[in-house]
Each structure stands twice: as C-alpha cells, then as structure tokens.
C-alpha cells in the first residue's frame, strides 16, 4: 500500500512552517516531532483527554483527531504561542500561576487553550460555563477547583494586565491570521 508523503504549509504561532509529511501523521505528532513544539501533549490519541488541544483558526480542537495534512493552509496556535511576548504571560497563564491551577503541568497546555478560547467567546464566564469549556480536558492532579478559580480571577475586571499594551492576550499577531483560507 502506498502512502505518498504530502507537502503542507501551516502557520504555527505566527510563523509559516512548510514540511513534507506522511499523511497519517497527526497534527499533534507534527507539532511535537516535526516542529519540536513539545508544549502540546499526547494523552490518549483517541479524542477524549484534551491534552492535545490547540487553537485551529482560533478555535480549540483536539490535534490528535486531525491529520497534519488537513491543517495545511490554516493557522495553529499552541501553548507556546499564548505568550504575548517574551518574558510576559497572558492573563490566563498568569492567573494559573496565581491560583495554583496546575501541578504536574501535563494537561495544562490543553487547559490553557480551552480557557483562552472560552474567554475570547465569553469575557465574563460563570462557573457553569467555565466547567463546560474545560469539560473536554481531563486533569488527574488538580480536581479542577483551582483552574476554575484561575479563570474567574483572569476575567475579573481590573485583573492586573501583564501583557504589553496593544497586543491582544494570547492571540497570534494580525499578520499571522490574515489570508488563511476557509476550511
């Protein structure tokens, strides 16, 4: 059976990355093994645990349930791309540290992605909305309490803004997201 490699081009954290991959390479394996972005983690490879969550054209998806070839021409944000700029943390990253919303850190990248997407959609989520947004991200360390606390803290009006002014928290820069073809 032949499995001809495919050349793909994906914008990852604002940078255009072109590679040739076997079609069966999942997006998470592409990010980790081909691009060396090991911040996104593998937990189950069957679409349940959410550790592999990334933003695809701004929306959270499970990168173990996609082949990398499917993301060609799209924009991907990983946890490494949530940092507004070097040396800073986004509001939600900072809040996670403040409320102790992580322990082993393994589910954390996926959690941050889910929380980031929630806050983009719903700037002042209530507890039910928070738990629903992270309902697809399993954690075995925290019992979720401090994660919920982190989102509440990050969305408190006036929570100290640790970002550099002018940059939207956690999103890739405008250049990175223009001209992405619709899927």
């Amino acid at each position: 059976m032949s499995s001809p490699p495919v050349t793909i081009e994906i914008k990852v954290n604002g940078l255009l990355r072109a590679q040739t991959v076997e079609p069966r390479t999942t997006l998470v394996d592409f990010l980790r093994d081909h691009l060396g972005l090991t911040g996104t983690h593998v937990g189950c490879e069957h679409g349940v645990c959410g550790a592999c969550s990334i933003l695809l054209n701004g929306e959270p998806v499970r990168s173990c349930c996609m082949f990398a070839v499917q993301a060609s021409g799209m924009s991907v944000t990983t946890v490494e791309g949530l940092v507004p700029e070097r040396g800073c943390l986004s509001n939600i990253q900072d809040a996670f540290c403040e409320t102790h919303a992580l322990q082993c850190g393994y589910c954390t990248p996926g959690m941050l992605i889910a929380c980031h997407a929630l806050i983009d959609h719903t700037p002042q989520p209530d507890e039910v909305q928070i738990r629903e947004a992270i309902g697809g991200n399993l954690c075995r360390c925290t019992g979720y309490q401090q994660i919920v606390d982190a989102v509440k803290l990050a969305t408190t009006p006036g929570y100290q803004n640790r970002k550099k002014p002018g940059v939207i928290s956690g999103q890739p820069s405008q250049e990175a997201i223009k001209e992405i073809s619709n899927d």
Binding site: H46, V79, L89, L102, Q103, G136, N137, T142, G143, Q146
Partner: protein, 807 residues
C-alpha cells in the same frame, strides 16, 4: 486558609505563606521537560505485540516478515531477552513468581507483552508489529478472585504452587475476648473495585548506551524507589553504569509510574542496537499491559461493639487481587497496618490478609498504597454500626475518635500516631458545610422527590514513608532504612543552589526545598535554585512515595541549611573574636547582638569561606557546601514476632462532609456540597497541599462513582480506553471547600506532616456514605464501588422503590 491562630504557623517567614510555585513558569508556557520531549539523534521507537489471551502457551513466534520491513531494527522475543537479564522479583518471598518484560513460554494475562519491535518511527514499529505471527494454545484461566483461591483453580504460576502469593493473619490484642464481651457484633462485606490513578501522561522510557563511557542514560517518567539500582541489577550492569535523569518532569503518577519492565526492555535494546531507543506507551498498551492497575479488594469485616457505641474490636479479612505478576503490590496490604484502626480507639484487631494472583493485568502502587480501600472498609462499618444502634453517625464517631490529649497514641499493631485533634477537624468541617444548612438542603431535595443523603468520613493519612512493612511481609527481607537527602551549596557569588535526588510528578519539590532553605537561611526563596540530580551524582533518596517529601526532603533541606548556617556563624565568631552565642543571624548577615556595628555581611562571609582560607577557623572545610542525609523519624526497627511495628511516623487526618442526591428515575448521582477538613500539621506550601487535596478528592470521586477496570469472564479488559474507563471531568467534580487545621508533628523540623494522598484517602468512603444515607431512606445500601447508576438502579428496583411505573 492557614489557621492564623496557631502559633506554629505564625513563627515562620516563608513557610505556610502563599507563594507561586517555581515549576509553574515552565509549565504554563509549554516549556516542561517531559520524558517524551527528550529527542536524540537516531532515536528508535518501540511498539509491542501483546497477548490476546488471559492464559495460553506460546506455541510459536514468527518474526521473519516483521524483520524484513525496511526501517525495522529489531524484533525482540522473550526467549532472547529473558536469557540476558535478571528477573523482577516480588516484594514478598515468592521467588518462583518472576516477571520479565516479555513473556517466555506462556502468557498470563491479556495484554501481556510478548514481542517488542524497534523501528525508525513508532508508526512503522506498529506496522511491523502487525506482521509478527504468534501461535497460541489457550489454557485454563481464572479471573474471579475468590475462585482463584481455591486449591483446584487454574494456577497463574504453577511453580509457586498456589495463586495465593502471600498470606498472613495478624492478631493484635485480645480479639476473641473483646468479641466475646461486646454487646453486639456486626459483619459485612465491602468491595473496592480495581481502579487506578491513570495519569494523563503514559509511561515513557528513553535509553542511550555509550560503549565508550559504559553508561546507560535513562530519561523516564518515573516515580519509584530504588529504580536506578533495580534497573542496573536487572540489566546486569554495575550500579554506576546507569544514569537516570531525575530532571525529567513527570506528567502525574500518584504511585503508579514504576515502569521497571518498560525500562529494562528499552535499556536492553539500547545496548544491543547501539542506538538510543524510546518506548512511549500508547494508551491501549498502558491500560492493558502497563501493569499499573490498582488495588482490587474484598473486605470481610466484623466489628464488636457495645450498645453505647463503643467499638471494641475488629476482625478484617482483606483479599487483594494483584493480577498475574507481582511488583510491590502485595505490600499494599501492609501499609494499612500502620493505621488499621483508622482514627478510632479500637483496642484489638485481627487482620487476615491475602494477596492473590489471577490472570489479569498486574497491580501497582496507587496513591495511599492501600489506605484508601482500607479507610473505605472501616468507614462503611462505622456507618453500619450507627444505623444498627440508631445512633447518629457523627455522634458515633465522636465517641470513638482518639482524643487530642491521647497522643502519641499507640494502636494495637504497633504504630504510634504522633499527634492530632480529630474532633476539632470534624467540628470545623461540619461548621464549614455548614451542617445545619446541608441538612435543610437534604430535606429540600427529598421534598422534591430525590433520594438525598449526607456522607461523613473521618480518616487517617499516614505519612512519611517507611520500609517497615517489607520485613513485616517477608522476614527474610531485613530492611529498615528509608532515607532522603539534600545537598546545598552557596557559591562564590553568594547564590544558593540545592540538589535533590529524585524525580517530581507535580508535587512542586523545587518550591518546597527553596521555601525551606529560604526559611532557614533568611533569604528570598525565589533566589534559591533547586536542581534535580541524576542517579550518579544524587545523594540517596527513596522517592516521593507515602506522602513523605515534605517531611523527608523538607527535613533534609532544613538539615543541610542549618549546617550551613552554623558554619557561617562559626566563621563570623572566629573573625569577630566572640563566641557564637553573642551573635545574631539575620537575613544572611551576622552581627554581634550588643554591638550591631560589628558585623559580617553575607558577601563577606562567602568571600572568607571560598577565598580566604587564612581567615577560616582551624580545621574547617573550605567553601560552603553541606549535605544532610537522614533516616525517617521513628524508623529503624524490625517488626516483632507477632507483627507489630511502627510504620509511618506522622499522621495527617481528614474529615469529609458530602451532600449527595440520587435521581430515583435515572439513578444518577449529583454531589451538591463537598467539604474537606484537613490537618497535615504545618503546611510548608499551602497552595500545593490544597491542590493535592482537591485532586485527591477527584481521584476518590472517580473510584467511588465511575472508574473500574472491568474484565469479561474470558479475561478481556472491557474498559481499556478512555471511552469506557471513565475519568471525571470538571463537570463531574463538584466545587470543593477545604478547611484547614494544624496539629504540628513533634517529629519534624517545622511540625509538618505529609499530605500527598490527601483527599483520596477519605473521599470514596464519604461519597459512599452519602449515597448510602440516601439509599437508607428506602432500606437499601451498596457496599461495592463504583456506585454507578446501573448499580444504584438495581438496588432501587429490588427495594421496589419507584414513584412511577416503568416499562
């Protein structure tokens, strides 16, 4: 949340304060360093061919097709591997129950590893694995635990002669007499189903062998005592030929990441092939063949008690199904010996413990090392006694709880509980709920037509670790050492670095150590760098197990820091020409108390120590580097003939109060209120402790309501993916309130006790208690976990409880 009134908690500058964990900086930015993140040039990948049968003879293995696939470097069978390595032996005296990474001759559980393929990529290895042809001849198997105990049951290890790998009956105290004299006796069975902590990261081991240095470098997601030593021994390498990199971040373990068999396999192939090799368990391999399932217990308990509620004695028969092979799993019947009466004043205990083998995936150490199932069994009985006598369950506990003035309290099996104030924690928990409010809520839920109940559990969390149950379970294994260490350096620039000798899986050890060092040396904890050594340059450690690191690593860090501090004082005394007791140490600077102008600052002291030998006291070692290695407090004794021994040194305590409801139509459970009262002495890092408590409750919720490694009669694992093994999400775990109390331990430097198992040890008992309180309104109860909707509905149906007719 730290109790502001307690003097022990207020004497510290850094200990007990909120502080951002050092580790978080790398985790929130995706810069963690997990075992699977380690990439090496030329890395080869392993996939496994596993047994489809619970018990079979391997007739033939044909690897030729697999070997011919381009990119495949080796296809390894058990026959080759077993001849080249030492077996992994059980923690009990059963030398015929040997385990090897790959099966030889027979397979003993469905999922057991038979062949390993090493290839250029994992995908290719899986392709080749499918081409390995294995012929099996099925043989009789046994899945049911009690059936396995029968003499005519199919034997998992015929050479051992029995499926019972270990058994001992302990009698501590005048059990028969207490039973005879008690007013009443109550018997029950409680069943703890096989579940486990199932971390989101699976086990990963990467090995690199160097012919020139003769070192095997190992990067693994490990949480295991003596791992480097056992790995070296099994690979027949000298101890100083294995270098385990403890600076690998481990993605959760809670006991289970003991992948010795994974590591032996990878190490062997790395050496054989002269290439770096990695085995990254996929989730299917992990669930079925990773040997990381948990306790699987049947408790048959008798309680002897009087009409006034005083519990006199207990007989507990505990049968644990460890699966087809043994690691330390039988010892999980041993740790509970150190808290066998829970927090209660029970005068005598008979403990009849069996460790049984069946053709199932092996069991591994799970958070609490057997204490959570045991607490569940005890608490089930307390509730039953209360119902039997018509006494309130809380009142019954108050009657039997060890009082705060009774410490240190000696329990029948030989352990002294160091300190505690159980009733105050109970009161605080009830108050935080508040109990009156949840009683009203319960009544309101009942008025709506739901079954509703309040659950209580009051449980011990032994902490500190100790090898004491090893000789308890195997008299030939005379071991009493359970140590930990820390090395601290102050460098030429005056910066402080501490070195710890084991791995971390979320417990924030760097934060722990830097807080402790900062406290002793009066320096900002964030300025202290904490490194993880590797196994060749590490001082001894016994790993973060048994809730021991706050005590042992914290104690070691404090010990080393104190020696450094006293050295600084000695240098200052020598240079200022006064005796040490005339000096004050403050913020790293030293001055004469009565003449503060005469002083030596930190920088000056460092300069003297590192560069001015002529100004050092005679005979003092130059530089500023000190180590501290110490034995667990109260450790060092072998058990008595009748099996009495001090197990763990320190005893934390938790009280859970839960409000739950059951929908009588769908049998679905909802937890409405969850409060945990927790006392682990002085908390060095309160946020860390709280985090683990929340997480422990979630683990317990999973065990109580959702999680089970279920097997078919054919020995097939039915819940081998995350679609059927159900881990609780944020929508299943309720909001949890923690209320703290602090009774310091007299045995530790700051009064700290351990708390890594908090929450998990009392939560299954409390949730079961709440659901049974709800079910008691229809005269029903369930003494088996998990209490799923299916299980609840069967009981409701039998109780003929239904508000409406159903189909």
């Amino acid at each position: 949340m730290t109790d502001p009134k307690h003097p022990a908690c207020n004497t510290f500058k850094y200990i007990g304060r909120r502080r951002r964990a050092v580790e978080h900086r790398r985790f929130v930015t995706g810069q963690g360093h997990y075992a699977a993140d380690v990439t090496l040039p030329g890395l080869l990948h392993i996939a496994i061919v596993a047994s489809p049968y619970a018990s079979a003879r391997i007739v033939s293995i044909d690897i030729s097709r697999a070997m011919s696939v381009p990119g495949v470097h080796d296809v390894l069978t058990g026959e080759e591997l077993t001849a080249q390595i030492e077996p992994m032996l059980p923690g009990v005296d059963a030398p015929k129950v040997a385990r090897y990474p790959l099966a030889t001759g027979v397979v003993r559980y469905a999922g057991e590893w038979v062949v390993a393929v090493a290839a250029d990529t994992r995908a290719l290895a899986e392709d080749a694995a499918e081409m390995v042809m294995i012929e099996y001849e099925q043989t009789p198997h046994v899945i049911d635990t009690e059936a396995a105990m029968a003499e005519d049951a199919p034997q998992v290890h015929p050479d051992h002669g029995s499926n019972i790998i270990w058994h001992r009956k302990f009698t501590w105290g005048a059990v028969d007499e207490h039973f005879a004299k008690a007013d009443h006796q109550l018997n029950y069975r409680a069943r703890w189903a096989r579940s486990s902590t199932v971390p989101i990261e699976t086990f990963v081991a990467t090995c690199l062998w160097s012919d020139t240095t003769q070192i095997l470098d190992v990067w693994a997601s490990i949480q295991m005592p003596k791992y480097p030593d056992l790995l070296a021994k099994c690979l027949r390498l000298p101890g100083n030929s294995v270098r385990v990199h403890f600076d690998v971040d481990v993605g959760g373990s809670y006991g289970v990441k003991r992948g010795l068999k994974h590591s032996i396999l990878v190490g062997y192939l790395a050496k054989k092939l002269g290439r770096p090799v990695r085995f990254l368990e996929d989730r299917l391999e992990n669930m079925r063949g990773g040997d990381m399932q948990g306790p699987d217990r049947i408790f048959d308990v008798s309680l002897a008690f009087d009409s006034d509620g005083t519990i006199r004695s207990m007989r507990m028969r505990a049968v644990d199904d460890i699966g087809a092979y043994s690691g330390r799993s039988p010892l999980q019947l041993g740790k509970p010996v150190g808290a066998i009466v829970g927090p209660y004043r029970i005068a005598s205990v008979e403990y009849d413990a069996y460790s049984v083998m069946t053709n199932k995936t092996p069991q591994e150490a799970v958070r609490g090392f057997g204490q959570a199932p045991t607490n569940y069994a005890i608490e089930t009985g307390i509730d039953k006694v209360a119902r039997f006598l018509g006494i309130d369950r809380i009142a019954l506990r108050r009657k039997n709880l060890i009082g705060k003035d009774e410490f240190p309290y000696l329990i029948p099996s030989g352990t002294h509980y160091d300190s505690g104030d159980y009733e105050t924690v109970l009161d605080k928990s009830l108050s935080a709920a508040s109990f009156e409010v949840i009683e009203q809520q319960r009544d309101a839920l009942r008025a709506q037509g739901l079954l509703a109940g309040i659950g209580i559990s009051t449980c011990l969390e032994p902490s500190g670790g100790n090898s004491a149950f090893e000789p308890l379970f195997n008299a030939k294994n005379e071991t009493t050492t359970w140590m930990d260490s820390c090395l601290i350096r102050i460098d030429l620039n005056g910066a402080v670095t501490a070195l710890m000798g084991t791995s971390t899986s979320g417990q924030a050890h760097e934060t722990l150590v830097s807080t402790v060092v900062g406290e002793i040396l009066h320096i900002e904890p964030d300025s202290v760098r904490v490194l993880h050594a590797d196994s060749l340059n590490a001082l001894p450690s016994n790993s973060p197990v048994g809730s021991r690191m706050a005590i042992m690593l914290g104690g070691a860090a404090a010990g080393a820091a104190k020696i450094l501090k006293s050295k600084l004082l000695a240098i200052a005394a020598h240079n200022l020409g006064v005796s040490e007791d005339a000096l004050t140490y403050e913020d790293g600077n030293i001055f004469i108390r009565d003449e503060p102008g005469r002083r030596l600052d930190w920088t000056a002291l460092v300069e003297i120590a590192h560069r001015q030998y002529h100004r050092m006291p005679a005979g003092m070692e130059p530089g500023l580097q000190e180590k501290f290695c110490w034995e667990v407090p109260t450790g060092g004794q072998l058990p008595t003939e009748d099996g009495r021994v001090q197990t763990y040194p320190c005893h934390s305590f938790e009280c859970h109060v839960v409000l739950a409801s059951i929908d009588p139509d769908t049998a679905k459970t909802t937890l409405h209120r969850y409060v945990v009262g927790h006392d682990c002495g002085v908390m060095i890092s309160p946020d860390v402790v709280h985090g683990m408590t929340y997480g422990g409750v979630a683990h317990g919720l999973g065990a109580a309501l959702l999680e089970k490694f279920a097997y078919s009669d054919e020995g097939q694992l039915l819940s081998g993916t995350f679609m059927d093994y159900l881990l609780p999400s944020a929508q299943e775990v309720p909001s949890i309130t923690i209320v703290d109390h602090c009774t310091p331990s007299p045995l530790t430097v700051f009064g700290q006790k351990g708390s890594g198992e908090a929450g998990y040890l009392g939560s299954p008992a409390a949730i079961a208690s709440a659901l049974n309180d709800a079910l008691s309104t229809v005269d029903a109860s369930i003494d088996e976990l998990p209490m799923t909707p299916q299980a609840i509905w069967r009981v409701l149906r039998n109780a003929s409880f239904s508000t409406k007719e159903t189909a």
